[in-house]
Each structure stands twice: as structure tokens, then as C-alpha cells.
């Protein structure tokens, strides 16, 4: 069942160019020069219920702008978006009732008040019944450990505690769709772990559809089944993580420790990419030969003492992707 669908979504911004110096300030006072920026350019996508989709792209690629259009905060210049069959701008209140949103850099909580008081307000706004409120709060505590700091004013919380609070606030009314904009930014390992655990749990338990914007590739690796890559306002990749990984980084590495240095390892389907004394790094294509085959071939022919298989870094893959698509376009907005 398709939960989110975007059709040729576009967003253009008009920016006023400011000249330098006093003369420039005076002239822009009288006759400002305007430039149009294509922040989002014909983005189309369909997301099914229960998917955890990763949204990645370099800064200024248009990720946040796209998310803002999907949540109804920003009106597109052209194109349309539907969430559960409804348009976020025509039926804002209905759509928003089914959404949970977390912005990593902006808070949805009340800065000077205790965390619990923000929850109480949300309870009234979303008209959550007492029983559901209790049940959800209990679950938040189970997975996020909310009760530990629910009585502390938000401004005194650590970043990790605050993010957990934001997530709880976003999920309090049990929305079927969750938008997360950089939820693990600035968190330590412990913090990231609990956030990811939470996302996985609600996805498994309730089939919550999650759209995750992130720069953290561990997030992608651990959570996302599908990856959408945006650059210069356009979708450059959209598909299962595995497929993209295979396409972008089709290599695997075999690291051999050989008996003595100086032995040239040769194999028709593997390239030697590095040799450090006794260590040899070999690169081979997954599609051309399996690891086991390569290993048996090499062990048969060469004095191999020890070996190790290395998978390509997801970071390498992403870097490849960005490099590939980096032309002289200007994606100014985020």
C-alpha cells in the first residue's frame, strides 16, 4: 500500500543578489537583482507502508526542502504530494494528525519547561485518550528510558536525552508515518544506538513508515532498506540499499598475509591494489567471482598464511555517488 507519493515535485526560490560596497547597497535598495534557484527539480517517488527509507545527499542538495514539502510546511512551485491519499496543503490538519516529525536542529519541545509538560500539551492537542497516553508513555519508557528525565526542564537535558524526548513527542499520538530530519546528529554512540533501536522497534511492532534524512551512514546501514539519493534537487538514486551498494561499490577486498614479501600475486579476476611487506590487498568484483573461489584459487597457488575479507565502506559508496553526480549545478537550499 502506497503511503507517500510525490509527483514531479519542484520548488523554485527567488533570491535577491546583494552587491558589495556602499554603491551596491544603494542600488539594491532601488533596483534589486533577482535570481531563481531550483532547490528541488521534478522529484517523484512512491513509498510503501512499513518501509524505512533513507534520504541522503550532500548539503544543499534539497533534502530538507523536499521533506518540508512532503510534510506540508512548504508549498511546492509545481507538482504534487500525497500522504495516505490526502494533500498536505489542502487537508493540512487531517494529514498532520497522522504524521510525526522530528527536526534534528529545531525543537518541538518547550525549552523552559519539564519534558512531561510538553507531552501533556501534546496529549491535549492530539486528543489522545488517557489509556492510549499511558500505554504510549510506558512504551516510550521501555525503549527510550523517558521517565528517567521526564521531570527535568528541556533546556537542562543532554543532547541525547533531548533527542529521545523529541522522538517520544513525535510518536506520542501513534502516527503511521514518521519523518526524521537528522535525528542522530551530534549524539554519542549510546545515544545513536537507542534512537536506532527505537526506530527499528516501532517499525517492526506497528509497521510505521519511516523517512530518515541523515548524514550518518551508519544510520543508513543499520536501518534503511531503501535509499533515495538527492543531489542538486534531483533524485539520482532510488532503490534497495543492496542494489545501489552493489552498483556503486561492486568490489570486495581480500587481504592476504603471505609467507614472504616480494611474491607477486596474480589472478585473472583480481587486482593487486596494495602491497605492504607481507600484506597484499586484492580487489575483485563480487559478480565475477565468489570470495571462496578466489580464496581456494589463491591458497592453491601461493603461500597464504592468513586472510581477511573486507567489504567496501558504505562511505566509499556514497562518496562515489556524490562524485558521479557533482556537476556545475548550484543547489543552494537545503
Amino acid at each position: 500500500m502506497i503511503v507517500i507519493s510525490a509527483d514531479q515535485l519542484s520548488k523554485k526560490f527567488t533570491v535577491i543578489r546583494r552587491e558589495k560596497g556602499l554603491k551596491g547597497a544603494l542600488s539594491s535598495l532601488i533596483h534589486p537583482e533577482k535570481i531563481t534557484v531550483n532547490a528541488v527539480d521534478n522529484v517523484s517517488l512512491k513509498i510503501e507502508k512499513g518501509e524505512i527509507v533513507g534520504f541522503i545527499g550532500p548539503n544543499g542538495a534539497g533534502k530538507s526542502t523536499t521533506v518540508k514539502m512532503m510534510t506540508g510546511i512548504l508549498h511546492p512551485t509545481s507538482g504534487s504530494v500525497e500522504i495516505n491519499g490526502l494533500s498536505p496543503f489542502k487537508d493540512r490538519k487531517k494529514v498532520v494528525r497522522e504524521l510525526g516529525v522530528v527536526f534534528g536542529q529545531r525543537t518541538q519541545l518547550y525549552w523552559d519547561l519539564r519534558l512531561g509538560e510538553s507531552f501533556e500539551l501534546l496529549k491535549r492537542i492530539y486528543q489522545i485518550s488517557d489509556s492510549m497516553y499511558k500505554a504510549n508513555m510506558k512504551q516510550m519508557d521501555e525503549v527510550l528510558g523517558i521517565n528517567e528525565f521526564i521531570h527535568i526542564p528541556v533546556r537542562q537535558l543532554s543532547l541525547g536525552q533531548r533527542m529521545r524526548g523529541e522522538l517520544a513527542a513525535a510518536m506520542l499520538h501513534s502516527p503511521p508515518v514518521l519523518f526524521l530530519d537528522e535525528p542522530t546528529i551530534g549524539l554519542d554512540v549510546e545515544g545513536k544506538h537507542s534512537i536506532r533501536k527505537f526506530i527499528r522497534e516501532i517499525n517492526q511492532r506497528y509497521g510505521t513508515t519511516v523517512i530518515l534524512t541523515t548524514h550518518d551512514l551508519d544510520d543508513v546501514e543499520q536501518l534503511c532498506s531503501r535509499l533515495i539519493v538527492i543531489n542538486h534537487g534531483r533524485i539520482v538514486e532510488d532503490g534497495p540499499l543492496q542494489d545501489i551498494a552493489e552498483r556503486m561499490a561492486p568490489y570486495r577486498f581480500l587481504v592476504l598475509e603471505i609467507a614472504s614479501p616480494g611474491i607477486g600475486i596474480r589472478h585473472p579476476l583480481a587486482d593487486t591494489v596494495r602491497q605492504n611487506g607481507n600484506q597484499v590487498w586484492l580487489r575483485f568484483r563480487k559478480s565475477e567471482i565468489s570470495a571462496s573461489r578466489l580464496i581456494s584459487d589463491l591458497c592453491y597457488s601461493y603461500p597464504v598464511l592468513d586472510l581477511k575479507i573486507k567489504e567496501p565502506d558504505i562511505e566509499d559508496m556514497i562518496r562515489e555517488l556524490y562524485k558521479l553526480n557533482d556537476k556545475t549545478g548550484s543547489g543552494v537550499c537545503n
Binding site: 526560490f13 510546511i73 496543503f89 490538519k93 498532520v96 518541538q108 519547561l113 501533556e120 500539551l121
Partner: protein, 279 residues
């Protein structure tokens, strides 16, 4: 059939009330976290108002009357204007800071909630410090009532309450309309200052000092005259040289409601622009 409709409305009302009351309670709690600021402002505000009334006093010492208005009458005008100003400052001063809301992304947050954004905006802040404004305004007003020998009949009191509430609504709507410019320009501090200066000079002095054209503008275009001038004329029995279709006690609240509807429309227009241009 009809009963279920009524029940629906009652439910909706209860819903809005529960959100409003809790939101306002939270807002007040937030301010009480900084008691020193409240206390220091409490000390300053009476001084500010004192300078205003002293100015009037000194003027009238030398002149005996301004445009036919004696000091007691001027004080009454000043007091009734102050009261509506105080109420506005308590409940809708957030209009002055609309640009802050825009720049901090507060409206993004509000747009993500299943509630009317203007409603959320209106209940987002209750200004505790403004209570001092109300108290001072009340003192000045009561003092002036003593001076003009105001008759505290039941009907007068009712008319007074209705007028002051209506006047507060007019004031707040004026600010909403003009401060909404922040949706386009991201700043509204200059407009706020402009409006405050304008309101001060048109509600604290009798409108008759201004030329007829200006008086017409202040009645028909920006209905400032209904805030303190017409009501004062009604209560003090002074001829305002305007033939109003009804008593101030009817007109002021009516104009208040009309301006409020207009204010909502302008706000929503600004919000739509904000949604189109992002932040």
C-alpha cells in the same frame, strides 16, 4: 439531528478550551522561571505611565484645556485608553514579536499540529508583566473617574466592560494586521514601533486636535477612534462631531469583531506566503 450538531460544537469548544488553557498555563509557568525580570519590569512600568500622565498634567497646567477638554476629561480618556492597552499587552503582545516566531521556525512547528495556526499563535503567550500595565491603567482610570464624578451604575459598568474588551480586540487586531508584514519581510519591529506611536498619539489625546480628514481616516480606515475617543465622548457627554449609528458600547465591540476577522484573514494570507517561500 440538531442536538447532535450542538453536541459536536460543544465537543469542539471543549477541545479548543483545553488546549488554550493548558498552553496559556504553560506560557505563564515559563515566565515565572525568571522572577527577577518580572519584578524589575513591575517596578519600571508605573514610572513609564507616570511620565505620560505628568505630561498631560503639565500641559494643562499651562493651558487649562486642550481643545475644550479639561484635565479630568483628558485623564479619563487616558485611563480608558490605557485599560484596553493593558489587556492587549497581556493577551496578544506576541503580535509584536511575530518576526521572532517566523525566524525561529515556530510556525513550522505550528503547521505540523492539527490545529488552526492563528489559534495556536494567539494562545501561545500570556504576558504576566502586562498585568502591571492593566493595574496601572486601572488606577489611572479609577482616579479619573473620581475626577469626572463618574456614576457607577450597573448599566455603565456593563457598557464599560464591553467597550474595553472591544477596544482591546481592536488594538490586538491592528497589530496582527500590521505585524503580519513579518511573513514577507521577516521583520516587524519598525512597524510595531510605528503603530505604538500612532496609537499613543491618537488614543491619549482627543481626536479633535487633528484635522477633519485625519479624523475620518482614524474612524473609517484604521478604527482607532473607537478605542478611547468615542467611548469617552459617550460617557462624558462630549460631542464628538461624528454621528455614530449607535452607542459606543455597541460600536466598539462590533468594530472589534470586524477587525478581528480581518486580522485573521491577513494573518492567514501571510502564513500562505510563508509556506510558499520557506524560511
Amino acid at each position: 439531528m440538531y442536538l447532535s450538531r450542538v453536541a459536536e460544537y460543544m465537543d469542539k469548544l471543549r477541545y479548543y478550551l483545553s488546549v488554550a488553557s493548558y498552553s496559556m498555563k504553560l506560557s505563564m509557568k515559563k515566565q515565572l522561571e525568571y522572577p527577577m525580570e518580572i519584578i524589575s519590569c513591575f517596578a519600571m512600568i508605573p514610572m513609564m505611565y507616570a511620565t505620560g500622565i505628568l505630561l498631560l498634567y503639565f500641559l494643562t497646567q499651562n493651558l487649562k484645556s486642550i481643545g475644550g477638554w479639561t484635565f479630568p476629561q483628558l485623564a479619563f480618556l487616558y485611563g480608558i485608553g490605557d485599560l484596553s492597552h493593558g489587556i492587549m499587552v497581556v493577551f496578544s503582545v506576541q503580535n509584536w514579536f511575530l518576526d521572532r516566531y517566523v525566524n525561529r521556525g515556530e510556525f513550522d512547528r505550528m503547521l505540523l499540529r492539527p490545529l488552526n495556526v492563528f489559534f495556536q499563535f494567539s494562545v501561545s503567550y500570556v504576558n504576566i508583566i502586562g498585568i502591571m500595565d492593566v493595574l496601572v491603567g486601572l488606577s489611572v482610570f479609577i482616579y479619573s473617574c473620581v475626577l469626572v464624578k463618574f456614576s457607577w451604575t450597573f448599566s455603565n459598568i456593563v457598557r464599560l466592560v464591553v467597550i474595553i474588551l472591544g477596544a482591546a480586540l481592536i488594538r490586538s487586531s491592528i497589530f496582527t494586521i500590521f505585524c503580519s508584514v513579518a511573513f514577507w519581510t521577516k521583520r516587524c519591529s519598525a512597524v510595531t514601533a510605528l503603530m505604538n506611536d500612532m496609537l499613543e498619539r491618537t488614543t491619549l489625546y482627543p481626536m479633535t486636535i487633528y484635522p477633519r480628514l485625519l479624523q475620518l481616516m482614524l474612524t473609517l480606515i484604521i478604527p482607532v477612534a473607537f478605542i478611547s475617543f468615542f467611548p469617552s465622548c459617550c460617557f462624558l457627554g462630549i460631542d464628538s462631531s461624528f454621528r455614530l449609528p449607535a452607542d459606543a458600547a455597541v460600536m466598539t465591540p462590533a468594530i472589534g469583531i470586524i477587525t478581528f476577522i480581518l486580522a485573521q484573514a491577513v494573518f492567514n494570507w501571510g502564513l500562505r506566503n510563508y509556506e510558499s517561500s520557506g524560511s
